[in-house]
Subunit: 340 residues, 4 copies
């Protein structure tokens, strides 16, 4: 029997149980991953609360899409994945390549399909990605959702070029991945945060310019100044209603803004006239295909990049504690659980 | 002396005078166009009212960016443009190619630079586009601003493929150009309007599906139904606050929306969460480079496409009448002035 | 028992047998297609001769990748495909989206995997495409390989815009699909052939300009003349060594050439200097992902497009006769076999 | 009077004279650059020999397109460029943005228009680019032709992503720029050369893997091995007939090859079948628009990148010596002339 956390009768955090489940066997084309660490995303909390409706599946449901470990068993007909490989499951089993189509979220782990929060996870071999071997399991567990989302935004959709300027908001997991990937692409990065301490930690990860938005609520103004009045080439917006107006003010003519988060509200008003006359692109971004996960893993491996993890670690059973750490401002980087 | 309309001491429609000005001579690298027809854009009205601030220049100012006619004189050093050529001036003298950069609007005709509303217009030869010869001057005059904007949105930025589905809003000049260009690209087009009569005229221009949004305020619902629940590939949004929510509801996962107009309000609230989770692109669109104007003119010429013009024509002197015809709902296609 | 053609002990056309095989049952996630017609590609001939080495698999092997029919049986766990649906199998089971990756050809039908040349074909439901219902089975059978290849070349990779000019070579199946798709995208098409009769048939399919390359071996010269000396925007090259030099001569600065065929030799010499100084793109093209097949099918359905088929039809058993019809110059459009 | 080198009666290196010419005055919209250093490209040699025919203009002609210096005078109507600015002239005056169109080469310096090889060079202000201020004039002079060409190839056309693998051939100026830009984009670079000493110098510039192609003529084999049999994502081919076959062997399925040089012959035979079945792109590359020069200069400035210059410097008068240093194998990086 293996350990697992599972939503039992219904959605709701109070319905999650730590329990023993039968060990899974790999079916044809499947492998079983011995999960060593998992990570938490804002998406997971909403999923556990039933906030995705039909798209989130139905309990009993094992939560979380993020995790990493080693291949413990290989089913018949599997090619290219071997016992002992250090891997992470791709976010979705029905999303082989590129941007999402209507079926992409239907195969997502942690809802509607069972997720990573168990000692042994059976997955189709075609949904497994080789993890960079210089990483710990906790670091690799940070990659599937937040890592691929930031990669899709900065590298695949915004197609940042070296020498371009990128503005990053905050120090949540997606933002710090976006910072790191923008630096790997050779960009000049401005990062804003409400905490001087976090700004300094962001500098250590490569941020070139730092702005405390508590001190400078109109942060788009110094951003324009430091770019000779032009604005940055790209903004990674995670604040939604709290930030979109300033993001539009900070971006250059024909520039683009990744819309990734709704931390500050999900109904942002904005000045459409400026978006039109300056030919600005607003691009919603949601994770990415398995091909993106592979390209991201190759870059992380080559550059020996280490994802930023929240220092406080949580036991696997302490999902409640991990979820409490999620809200903006309380953490720096990815929140992970390790001990089963 | 030539006839011209000009804003004299200050902005404001009351400051426009019909007057005689000295005939211009072409400088080095310049040509003079004998303007035969001009067309009106919502932009022009705002410009004449002083609504663009510094970007709109200063009176005395000859308004309008749209016009067409024949080359009346050729200055020294001009190559590739000859006396008698049927041409239109490109929207801006400082926008040779592609999407706008910060200098693109600075060379725009009708503000900040003198525009088309005069019998003789001197222009750098590099800012002149050969007009399709099957068109009347009034039809060619419709192309520079609304034509290129719709072309940039549908063909260059959304890159519509044959067989894709496109939703068009209303029957203003940009919308009807977008309809025609989407059809030339082989798309299936849904058009919405508040008037059954205009819907029938849109059908004659190629629209495949028609919806009266007065009768069906939730028009995104039948649009999803006619696309097997998926949504259309692209929406050309001109309504802003009045339409953006429905546009998001009508577009497919990973689809895109051109943001072109603010007819229904310039501060649209919208459900950011759906834009994020469905990876939707919102693309502001403003005119385009001279290379786009040339590609558009080539397509119009090859297909013998005729721009849709409002039936009621206005005399050159009756600028006030033409401006009165502009508001949504009063016209179908481009409003033009012809008789000097 | 079902009828099938199968390579038995070894590669070689003499080893193909018409025989009875057990009726297949659909496994989990699979459907069975009752094949009504199949079509032949130059690839298939080479495959049957063993010309693809390891990539072609090993006998016993059922040849051909092209075919169409109706769903006869649906296995457990299949969603979105129903008994009676009119479908064609995608070219490869391991190519869900986009351009090929190393695994794309590994799941190809007709080598290395069993193909369409049998009355009943089991296929994963995820590798099945809904065929346009206005087509006959023979017409739909023409789509999987030649149709998708031409679509990838013209629509997805060259991204032809309306009003652009495209040059098509010959009247083989890929060339005629390229002609039809270029017309659906609104392009102006020049087609060259060695036969005046075939040129007239190409005109009926939409070709705007015709050149008999027997009469005009330097056909790139009139092509440049008819484009004001500039050259066409795109060339679909199927002749390889026999045509590449002229293709380069016919294409405009910054234009592109699809490299699809080697009919005139597989080691084309060419003037590299002109490719460099004129920034020309040469793009090898091989079929495409299932997403392309779906977009192509949507366009064919919307436009009621009918693939061009060689008039002479062959019986299923007369594979030898069908293969004899394949060489350039003997057919017009796709060669199909129908009667089992 | 200013010093200049000029082709006098006819093409041919013997017709170049070191002479005094009248100091130029800036016309409307023009600036005058006080040239401090110039650099030599293979293009320039061919131009001086008359090898470009009509495209090269007619003597008297001042050669060279590469140079850098400070603004000595500013004509009327110039905006955004000031006396004392450290600048280089863009390669062509008629190439504002993007890939070349038919008019792009018509405004090139050093043929058909007068070039940089003079103490004072008048240029339209719109054709001037601000040089990175950390560079010497000799370093900045290396940027206009070779720098922009490598930038266009690696950053704009191949769109290298971080973590991708790029193969670079040789240690000429374009190759070393391609190496540096690929590293700035976060790529993993394999560089081949015939000299162990040059390989070591390339390592110092960032090359990750080195192959001496004298020792390993089939260098594509170890390249495939080091990429798990897949091949690199991109090859920068400068060898033409001497390298194209191996370049095709070294690149992955759906990868791309920049065709930039013809050092090893201009009529490369190649295996077209592999290009087709593996969907490989061969992209001719020639310089780029002024917008690319500006983006490149921004990246060079931000990263404090220093172009690689051949150690041996030449006096301005010793053009013959500089040209002798150009052939492959004799130099490392850009050949420059400094003393007037």
């Amino acid at each position: 029997m293996m350990k697992a956390m599972r939503l039992e009768e219904d959605f709701g955090l109070e319905n999650i149980r730590y329990r023993d489940l039968p060990d899974p066997e790999p079916g044809p084309g499947e492998v079983v991953i011995a999960i060593e660490a998992v990570a938490i995303n804002p998406r997971d909390r909403l999923m556990m609360l039933g906030g995705y409706g039909r798209m989130g599946g139905r309990p009993p449901l094992i939560p979380l899409c993020d995790g990493a470990g080693r291949i413990a068993a290989v089913g018949p007909g599997v090619d290219g994945v071997r016992e002992g490989d250090f891997v992470f499951p791709h976010y979705s089993r029905t999303w082989p390549r590129g941007l999402p189509d209507p079926s992409a979220h239907g195969g997502a782990h942690g809802g509607p399909l069972d997720g990573t929060m168990r000692a042994l996870m059976p997955v189709p071999a075609t949904a497994v990605v080789q993890a960079p071997v210089h990483l710990t399991a906790a670091e690799a567990a940070a990659l599937p959702c937040a890592g691929v989302t930031a990669w899709s935004a900065v590298v695949e959709q915004a197609r940042i070029k070296t020498g371009q300027r990128v503005l990053i908001q905050g120090t949540g997991a997606i933002s710090l991945f976006a910072l790191q990937f923008a630096k790997l692409q050779g960009a000049e990065v401005v990062l804003i945060s409400s905490s001087d301490e976090k700004l300094e930690r962001a500098r250590a990860l490569g941020a070139d310019h730092l702005i405390n938005y508590r001190d400078v609520p109109d942060w788009h103004k110094p951003v324009r100044e430091m770019t000779a009045g032009l604005g940055v080439d790209h903004v990674v917006d995670v604040g939604g209603a709290a930030t979109l107006e300033n993001s539009i003010g900070a971006v250059r003519t024909s520039g683009s803004i990744s819309l990734i988060g709704v931390l500050g509200g999900s109904r942002p008003p904005f000045d459409l006239g400026r978006v039109v006359t300056r030919n600005i692109r607003l691009q919603g971004v949601t994770v990415g295909g398995r091909d993106m996960a592979e390209r991201m893993a190759a870059a992380v491996a080559f550059h020996r990049m280490r994802p930023a993890l929240e220092e406080k670690r949580f036991a696997f059973r302490d999902l409640a504690g991990a979820l409490d750490a999620l809200p903006e401002g309380r953490h720096f980087g990815k929140v992970v659980c390790e001990d089963f």
